[in-house]
């Protein structure tokens, strides 16, 4: 059982492999993000160099999947054929205070009509799609 219906676009690694460690990590239930090997700056989304010191020595490190809701939306209008007759559903932007306040986007697991509050604590929930042509795992969030 997935949060959203089947038929939405499947994520794949970029042709230049910039984000490959992230997608490989999710398959193992790990949240991998970038941290600069030279100055320690956290960075998300991925980029080839550090936006702070311009070092190309970007390391991929595992971070704990917890954070707070930074912003959110509840989507009612179906904009994709797979979402016809479905909804509403909630998407959240989550801030990770222990990883330089980087942010991540996912769906908020649970009642789609639940009251959503900025600042609420959430933890990551991995949602594998093993049957996809190229299997992948999404990262959702759940209220603590």
């Amino acid at each position: 059982m997935t949060y959203l219906p089947a038929g939405l676009p499947a994520p794949v690694t970029e042709a230049d492999k910039l984000d490959q460690p992230y997608w490989e990590g999710t398959r193992q239930g790990k949240l991998m993000v970038q941290r600069c090997g030279a100055c320690g700056t956290w960075q998300w989304g991925p980029e080839w160099l550090c936006h702070e010191c311009h070092s190309f020595d970007m390391k991929w490190v595992e971070v704990e999947g917890r954070g707070t809701i930074y912003s959110w939306t509840r989507c009612w209008h179906p904009v994709h054929p797979a979402l016809k007759g479905f909804g509403p559903y909630v998407a959240v932007v989550v801030e990770l205070p222990h990883a330089g306040k980087i942010r991540m986007l996912g769906n908020l697991i649970g009642d789609p009509q639940q009251k959503v509050e900025i600042g609420s604590a959430v933890t990551a929930v991995f949602e594998p799609h093993d049957d996809a042509k190229t299997p992948y795992t999404l990262v959702h969030w759940q209220r603590v």
Binding site: A10, S71, W72, T73, W76, A91, I118
Partner: protein, 393 residues
Amino acid sequence: MTERTLRGKVAVVGVGETTYYKHSQSPDPEFVLALKAILAACADAGINPKDVDSFASYSNDRNDPSRIASALGCKDLRFSNMQWGGGGGGGAAAVGNAAAAIVSGQADIAVVYRALAQGQFQRFGLAAAGGTVAGENALVNPYGIFVPAQRYAFKMMRFMHDHGIKREALRAIAMASYHHAQANPRAVMHGRPLSAEDYDNARWIAEPSRLFDCCQENDGAAALVLVSAERAKDFKQTPAYILGVAQGSNHRHAARAYNATDLGTSSFGPVAPRLWEMAKLGPKDVDVLQSYENFTGGVLMSLVEHGYFKAEEANDFLKLENLLAPTGKLPMNTSGGNLAECYMHGLELQIEAVRQLRGTSTSQVPGAKVAGVIAGPMVTPVSTMIFGAEETL
């Protein structure tokens, strides 16, 4: 060193539009719409279209200036320019780019244009089916986030949360556009007024936006003709002079998955101060404003970040009576704007600003001398400009 500025050096001397249609309703192909708008703008100015030598557009407009110049039989093609960025963020920047080309001697008679026929091409508000996604889209599409109403919801929601903005403030923005459209026979929503009840009862699209917080999608085309200030009076219309223009973005705006340093913003924070500096004016000097509504929440943030009022004052300022011509404190979107006139990616807003300075708007602000235009907010880059009548030079 002489001051580097566009202030007072270039004027709009012609404006043109096609009929505005609901999306996918244009009987003409998109290229024909572009040509018709350009011909109308040239006729308005009293310029032979064959004398146009430069073209500028934005948002990846599909109508190539070389083809336009060939189709029109232009004697010379000197300057052709495309402003980076999607959405309507580049509406003012495209005018600024054309003006910069004129001032620097690269262009003489420049046309800024935008044409849209969404029936011929894919609509903005609908996603394509199936397939795979990579890069930025891989981090958002699988979670059901595709279109602008969803993508920008996070910015508006955060700003409204931080500053305690009430829905009534957004409602005033939507109702002002619909109110002005009732006086404008060109407006797609002419004859379709919006009541407070209609607004409140409309379905959600993506919170915090209900149906009437969101722009239309339309077919049509719009164009403006620009010349140097020295030549502006040779043509038949009252010139609208460019007093200031600025484009840009906020820190790390395009960092994927909502990692811009400041998320709850229209992106005008660092841009608007440059506008006021070049125009040598401030928000209190503006007689009438056109502010691009992709979503009413975007207008809210644009107004705050241009300094029209503080975020804490938004609930008090954003009352319908304050936004209406002729007597409101800040008459806004006086043709009906993107919500109710036409979503011509905001170029219709530039045209309305010119009309206000000519005194020919259907919701005229008496004696308007300074007209602001804020192009599409929340995207990157954004842009903004000020037009002035001759007295402001």
